[in-house]
């Protein structure tokens, strides 16, 4: 197997996992934009997406096109409930307390998942059956195309949402200045609720598409949250497409490091890249200096 094929293989692997980091990072950004909170329970939304989908399609035997939207709706509801019961009551607390609340929520979600699904991993059948495809001497699974396609679709949809729809623009307005936004008649409370619900939904989609490739268990959340956070900060916290680019960079570099350098360092790579970029451009690749100075975190 030529070096080119090997590297191509690593890149494919990196793209796959990078897509997931991107979607988690996007989720971080949406909530951060609306509230400046870093939601460390973001990974748990991914986990719920995968596991609930397993329940609906494998246990209840719903077909894919029913299970998918149903799962997303359930997890979106979880995100909304989380905001209502845990975030909203603490809206006047310090930012640090709120971040700790998301951590406590992550522990709670994991406890619930362990209670319902146990500690075993679960899998989903790939969306389209069939073996892997060879491209340039490297192997790529059919499900990977679904993952990449879904990520692309999400990126397009969120860009349209924030750029073109009233609700989306209102949410962006909240992120710049909640006081001014509220004076303009924007219902800030509702925007925050929507941001959590939306992030939860995105996380769920990520969980559903990745489970056929890498299984899902109750404990998958925290690692994804850390890597997704890196992706978001790398791309510039608060900038939508930044998280996407950040996610792919982290994913590919991780995979290349594992393949070409030493697999033991894989987990640290995401953070090392982050530190490296932050040295040169502290607000992230696409972040803007002024905005990051104004934001509290």
């Amino acid at each position: 197997m030529s070096l080119f094929s090997e590297i191509l293989q690593f890149v494919f692997t990196g793209l796959t996992i990078g897509s997931i980091y991107s979607m988690v990072g996007l989720g971080f950004n949406i909530i951060y934009n609306a509230t400046t909170i870093i939601n460390l329970a973001q990974g748990e939304f991914v986990m719920f997406g995968g596991l609930i989908m397993v329940f609906l399609t494998v246990v209840l035997k719903f077909p894919l096109f029913i299970g998918f939207p149903l799962t997303v709706m359930v997890v979106t509801a979880i995100g909304a409930l989380f905001e209502r019961f845990a975030i909203h009551p603490l809206r006047n607390a310090s930012l640090l307390t709120l971040i700790i609340v998301t951590i406590a929520a992550s522990i709670l979600f994991r406890g619930i998942a362990m209670f319902i699904w146990g500690k075993d991993p679960y899998t989903l059948p790939p969306f389209t059956p069939g073996g892997p495809v060879m491209i340039g001497g490297a192997v790529i699974m059919l499900q990977t195309f679904w993952v990449l396609g879904t990520t692309l679709a999400i990126v397009v949809l969120t860009t349209l949402f924030f750029g073109k729809t009233i609700v989306g623009k209102a949410m962006s307005a909240c992120s710049f200045n909640p006081m001014a936004a509220s004076l303009m008649g924007i219902h800030v409370r509702k925007m925050i609720l929507i941001s959590f619900a939306l992030s939860a939904g995105l996380g769920a989609i990520a969980g559903i598409v990745i489970t056929p490739i890498s299984l899902m268990d109750y404990d998958r959340g925290p690692m994804l949250a850390v890597k997704g956070f890196c992706a978001a900060v790398l791309g510039g916290l608060g900038v939508g497409y930044g998280a996407v680019l950040g996610g792919f960079i982290v994913g590919i570099l991780e995979s290349l490091t594992a393949g070409l350098v030493h697999s033991g360092f894989k987990d640290a790579v995401a953070l090392m890249i982050l530190l490296f970029i932050l040295c040169f451009k502290p607000s992230g690749i696409f972040g803007s200096e002024e905005v990051s100075k104004i934001k509290k975190f």
Partner: protein, 400 residues
Amino acid sequence: MKKSWIAFLTMVLCIVLISPGWAAYNIGFVASITGPASWLGEPEKNTALMLQEWINSAGGIRGVPIEIVIEDSKGMEADAVLTTKKLIERDNVLVVIGSSTTGESMAMVPICEQAGTPMISMAAALSIVTPEDEMKRMEASKTPWLEVPKKPRYWIFKVAPSDASSVEKIYIYCQAKKIKRVAIITVSAGYGVEGRRQLKRLAPKYGIEIVADELYGPKDTDMTAQLTKIKASPAQAVINWSVGPTQVIVTKNWNDLGMRGKIPLIQSHGFGSKGNIKLAGEAAEGVITPLGRVLYAEKVDPKNPQKPVVMKYKTEYEKRFKSDVSTFGGHAYDAIMMVADALKAVGPDKKGIRDYLETKIRNWPGTGGMYNMSPTDHTGFGADGFEMIEVVHGEWEFAK
């Protein structure tokens, strides 16, 4: 009205707190029931619950019921330390069985030694029963792969086969199949690190060359990068050493990369669970692994003295817990049954139990193998506890 409620509750509370354990033989049991090693702890705990019922419904031991006090170490040494102390002091256990992982067991060793309480670990590493200086002597020798420990720790025993035995079984198989060059891919967590150490240490003994040595993390979700490198190497077989979902992911990746038929996949004995075959699906066909007899009890030769033991354990476990039996649960079985035999013979005497374990467990059929404990060997058995098994049509079959 309120005051009498309070009085009643206080009384209940007092009774609960003060009540002495009804006379029973207390057996301490520490396992990683939650946390990263719960694949080990969960079946171990289930086995303990099942055996406690068996023994007590048969009238207990010498007419006295046993109480297996089960504690969760959560896979962390600090918790293993605390639970062991609690068991020895508050629950007055006669024996401590546990824990599921090497790290925790190592932390528990000094506590049990100080308290003069026999300990039977369900973890694999030789260093649990072997004192530091003895380990150093073996490592310093010119032929470390031929060394065996000669002076085990006085109070400490273990029932799980050491990774060395599993590796030896695999290498014997490789020799028979004329495989000289192997690739190894291991998880960078306790289990995998031990396995890797043994794989490297024992390779010269069987004339095997390790041509690729890849690693991955316990929470990784994709190993195609590492397997790609192995595919490109001159390896004739690839050996994976991990537990949990990563075994399944490696199997799937190996299959997707089209390595079947060219570079056979050999899994460690941690693969031994039907759940893994189900999750890996067709990818698991042809995968080879050394497994303890409890997993394929029906296929074991009726003349083998382990047969009745493993058959009974497998059928009862699967009936009661509606889930597949595993070798890890088997470790709990062996430990508890050994202690039961000791108690029957000598009664509630810590030193007596220890002496019994060391001297009377001879040709003792357990789920893991035929145990032969002695003053120089507190591990009991070696590679003979395993058979090489191949996955054929989703079932365990003897490998040819």
